[in-house]
C-alpha cells in the first residue's frame, strides 16, 4: 500500500498569518505524506470483509470515507447532518451483524453524540467503529471544530477503546486492527495529506500496546497521536544539544498499556514528559499520572497539552505554536524543564 507517498516539500518561510483557518493539517515541513490513508485502508479491508459498511453525517468528503463510498456505493450510508442518528443507527447495524465505520468530526462524535454512543453502542457492546476527524487542535476554525476534549470524553465511557494515530502508517494499520477487535472503538483520524514517519522506526500498530520508538537517557516522552511525531522530531533536534530523549508511543489511550508505561517510567533518572494533542484535563497525561501513582513510580513529571480553555480561531501553525504543541514549542519546553 505504499503508493501515493508524497516527498516532502521544500522548506518554506514562516506561515503567513492569513493562512486559511479551515484547512486542517499537522504536516510540518520535511515530512513525507500519504494521501487519505484511512479511506484507502478501509477500501482495501472492505474487499475481504463484506460485513464492513461505511457511514457519515454529511462529512464523507471531509473524513476521507468518500473513497470507500465511491468504491462500494451500496455499502455506504449517507446519514445527512444527523450525528446522533448516525451513532445510534450504527448501533442498529451492528446488532444486525455489520461492522459500521461511522465518520464525522471528532467534536461532534464526542460532544453531540455522547449519550447516543454510551447507551446506543457502548453499553450494548455494539461493534461500531467511530472515526473522528480534526482531532485536538488540527483546525484553526475555533472551538466548535477543535476537539480538544474528545479523549477525556471517551475515556470516561466504559467499554469503548480509544485510539489516537500518529501518522499515515498508524491510521492504516488501525483500520484493520479495530475491525478485528470485537467491540466499540473511538478512533481519532488524520485526513488528507497525512505525514508518514513511523515507517522509519520498525513499528507496527498493536491494539492496546505502547511502543518504544527510541531509547534515551535524559528524557522519556510518553506521547499519543501526532504528538509522537513532534516528540520524534524534537528528539532529533535535542540530540544535537546533547540531550538524549526516549519516545514511547501510546496510540491506545484506553485501555492503557500500564505495564510498558510503568516499566519505562521506572527507569531512574529520566524526566517523564507526557505529550498529547488534547486538553490537559482528562487525556493521556492524567491517565499516565494515575497509572504511575498507583504503581508507586514517581519520576519528575511534566505535561505538554493544550490549556484548559476554549482556544482561539486563527491560522493553525500560529495556534499550535501559541498553545505549545508545535515542534518548536515542544523543544523549548523540554529544554527549559531540564
Amino acid at each position: 500500500m505504499n503508493t501515493n507517498v508524497q516527498e516532502p516539500t521544500v522548506k518554506s518561510s514562516a506561515p503567513a498569518p492569513s493562512m486559511p483557518a479551515i484547512i486542517a493539517s499537522s504536516v510540518d515541513e520535511g515530512h513525507r505524506t500519504k494521501a487519505a490513508p484511512f479511506g484507502h485502508a478501509l477500501v482495501e479491508l472492505g474487499r475481504t470483509r463484506p460485513e464492513i459498511v461505511g457511514m457519515s453525517a454529511d462529512l464523507a468528503k471531509y473524513t476521507d470515507i468518500h473513497i470507500f463510498a465511491q468504491a462500494y456505493p451500496d455499502r455506504f450510508y449517507q446519514m445527512g447532518m444527523s450525528e446522533q442518528l448516525m451513532a445510534t443507527a450504527a448501533g442498529g447495524l451492528a446488532k444486525e451483524g455489520f461492522i459500521p465505520f461511522a465518520t464525522t468530526y471528532a467534536t461532534f462524535a464526542a460532544r453531540r453524540c455522547y449519550d447516543f454512543i454510551s447507551q446506543g453502542v457502548a453499553e450494548q457492546d455494539a461493534n461500531v467503529k467511530f472515526v473522528g476527524g480534526l482531532p485536538g487542535l488540527t483546525t484553526g476554525y475555533g472551538p466548535s471544530h477543535q476537539a480538544t476534549d474528545d479523549l477525556a470524553i471517551f475515556r470516561a465511557m466504559p467499554n469503548i477503546t480509544v485510539i489516537d494515530p500518529c501518522d499515515a502508517l498508524d491510521v492504516e494499520q488501525m483500520v484493520t486492527a479495530v475491525a478485528d477487535h470485537h467491540g466499540p472503538v473511538y478512533m481519532r483520524m488524520l485526513r488528507g495529506a497525512v505525514p508518514l514517519v513511523l515507517d522509519e522506526y520498525n513499528y507496527r500498530f498493536e491494539l492496546g500496546k505502547a511502543a518504544l520508538l527510541r531509547g534515551g537517557r535524559d528524557v522519556l516522552v510518553i506521547s499519543t497521536g501526532f504528538m509522537t511525531m513532534r516528540a520524534l522530531d524534537a528528539a532529533k533536534d535535542l540530540q544535537k544539544d546533547g540531550v538524549d530523549v526516549a519516545v514511547l508511543h501510546v496510540p491506545t489511550v484506553k485501555p492503557l498499556d500500564e505495564v510498558t508505561i510503568l516499566r519505562e517510567a521506572a527507569r531512574t533518572g529520566r524526566l517523564v514528559v507526557v505529550a498529547e494533542n488534547h486538553t490537559i484535563v482528562g487525556g493521556l497525561g492524567e491517565a499516565v499520572a494515575g497509572c504511575l501513582l498507583r504503581g508507586g513510580v514517581a519520576p519528575a513529571f511534566r505535561q505538554i497539552a493544550l490549556p484548559d480553555r476554549f482556544l482561539s480561531a486563527g491560522s493553525l501553525p500560529v495556534l499550535q505554536d501559541r498553545y505549545g504543541i508545535s515542534r518548536k514549542a515542544v523543544i523549548d519546553r523540554i529544554k527549559c524543564w531540564l
Partner: protein, 281 residues
Amino acid sequence: MSEGNLLHNSRLAERAHRVRHNAITMAEVHGQGYVAQALGVADVLSVAYLHAMRIRPDQPEWEDRDRFLLSVGHYGIAHYAILTEAGYLPESELVTYGCDDSRLPMSGMASYTPGAEMSGGSIGLGLPMAVGMGLGLKRKKSSSFVYTLMGDGELAEGPTWEAAISASHYKLDNIIALVDFNKVQADGPSPTIMSTEPLVAKFEAFGFYVQRVDGNDLPALVKAFDNAREHPEPKPRIIICDTKMGCGVDFLEAREKNHFIRLEPDEWKRAYEALEARRPA
C-alpha cells in the same frame, strides 16, 4: 407597487450588491471560503437587517433590538458582509476576516463580533436557542423578534425539530426562522444527501406559519418579512428562502462544487467584474 416602495426596493438592491461585494472582499483574503453561500443569502440578510429588523448598529446590545441568531456559523462571511453594510463594523475590517486575532473569525462566534449573538459552528443550535430567547423576551414583555438563519442541510439535525415542537407548544410568535434553501450541503446537493421535502407541509404540521419564497427576489422577500411580522396567529414563523448559490456572480452560480470554493488569484478580478456587470441600475 407605490413609488415609495419602488424606491425602497431599488435602494435595497443597491445595498445587497454592496453586501455581495463585501463577501468577495473577505473571501479574496484567503483565496477560498463559503463565498457562494454569502452571495446566495445576501438578499435575505439585506431584507432582514435593512428592512425588517429593529436595530441600533452603534448599540449592538440595545435591549429593545430584534435578535439575530446565525445558526450556520460558517455563514460568518455572509453575516460580516451585512453587519458591515448595516453599520456594525467598519469596512476596513473586512480584510482581517479569518486572520489571527481578527474580530471576524471564519465561524461566527458571539464573543468575537459586535452584532453576533450566538456561537454557531456546531450546527443545529439556532432554533433551540431562539426558543429560549423567545421565552425570555415574552417573560420580559418585550416586543422584540428573534430571527435565526438556518441552512437546508442543517434541517437534518434533531434539535431543530425538538425546538420546532416546543416553539409551537409555547406559541412563540416572536420567532421568525429563516432557512437558506440553497440545495447544497457539505457532501453535495442536499436533495441527494438527505431530502427534507416536503418542507412547507412539515413545518405547517409542526404548527408554524410558513412562507416559501424566491430568496433572491427582494420585493418577494420584503413582503414575506412583513407578513411574518404582522401575521395575527400566535404561531412561530418560518420563511423558507429558495436561493441560488453564488447569486450575482455568473461563473460561481454555474459552478457545481460550491459548498467551499477555491478561486485562482486571477479569478477574483473576474468575480468583481461579474458582480459589477449585474449591478442594479
